[in-house]
Symmetry: C2
């Protein structure tokens, strides 16, 4: 697997991958990107409108004007060179995953604030995990009844979805336990009950490396 970096940023390959499924307009691409990739490759929607043009400039996509009702709109299709570029990118070693959570850095420095404040941050974190679970479940529950937009993509989509669901679930479960723990604290300073504070860590370490 080659370690040389590809000529385009990952975001471009993501939408190139979408184009490999079928032709779309920029708007559809932006929406689909939000739907399918929001939780694994989050990007602002406004950013995506420039991507198809970049792909065309590289010869990886072609633009055609199609009628839509009384108006025309530009629809992008992948080119053979685009398929080759996508395949070459797949050969390339993936960057390390990256996770950032401001809630958790606030937890780390919560000793300089109140317990109420910390509980708010933890609830916020929990709520986001739950919302993420629900958003993915809403998209993928129909799959189980055979209602899928692209049946020949079901297997990879389902695999990725189950990862996002699993991680969202443990995050929510962790948050619940953390909230329960913090509710026992009188201050955000060093707690009275050291054993309780270390319980979660002990449990997480207990079963050894995965």
């Amino acid at each position: 697997m080659s370690r040389s970096h590809p000529e385009l940023p990952t975001t471009s390959y993501a939408i190139l991958g979408l184009l490999a499924i079928k032709p779309w307009s920029t708007y559809e691409l932006a929406k689909q990107m939000q739907r399918d990739l929001r939780f694994v490759w989050p990007r602002a929607e406004s950013n995506l409108y420039a991507e198809p043009k970049k792909l065309v400039a590289h010869g990886f996509a072609s633009a055609s004007s199609e009628p839509r009702g009384k108006r025309r709109r530009t629809v992008y299709s992948i080119t053979p060179a685009g398929r080759r570029a996508l395949a070459a990118w797949l050969e390339t070693e993936a960057a390390e995953p990256r996770w950032e959570s401001e809630s958790i850095v606030k937890l780390l420095f919560a000793t300089h604030g109140s317990t109420e404040q910390l509980l708010e941050h933890l609830h916020h974190f929990r709520d986001h995990a739950t919302a993420r679970w629900k958003a993915v479940a809403a998209i993928f529950s129909p799959y189980l009844e055979g209602d899928e937009p692209f049946p020949d993509r079901t297997h990879v989509n389902a695999l990725a979805a189950s990862l996002v669901l699993d991680t969202a679930r443990v995050e929510a479960a962790w948050a619940d336990r953390a909230i329960g723990e913090v509710q026992k604290w009188h201050t955000t300073g060093a707690p009275q009950d050291r054993g309780s504070a270390l319980a979660a860590l002990e449990a997480a370490l207990a079963s050894g490396a995965p």
Copy 2:
């Protein structure tokens, strides 16, 4: 909780939070940031050398030259204004967590590559999760024996550590199952066994919203 954005980026508050523990040199700050925050707020080390100066410019830190052996080095300390700024930042609502994984977008478009390639990506993903687990475990295992660098921070550190350990573990477990599944595939195209492909999704959805 105020929604107005603070005057500095989160990275600056992270190192301000470190300074609230004790004075450090830039080098120590950079190292400590990697040690404690790498998995919740990842930043390139070279970037961190500019941060203390920014804090001084805002009046949130002060620099003093201290002897270290035969040479001098600059050590930064938090100011009262810095502590106020940190507290104000804690009042502020946290940004949503963000997770990005190029491995998973490659999984999503793996239908344009080989199964061997996909397995390599999944192994890479699994290896990173395991490495992350081990890195955190190496830092926090001593805590259980009472060996802690900052005892009055143990409770928050332990909470955050258990989250990272938990998520690393489910990621590794997911990857193992995914590898097992893909090994049954003959091609990356639509699989022969639809039920098997949907099993992980079904299991993830089974117990309902967290």
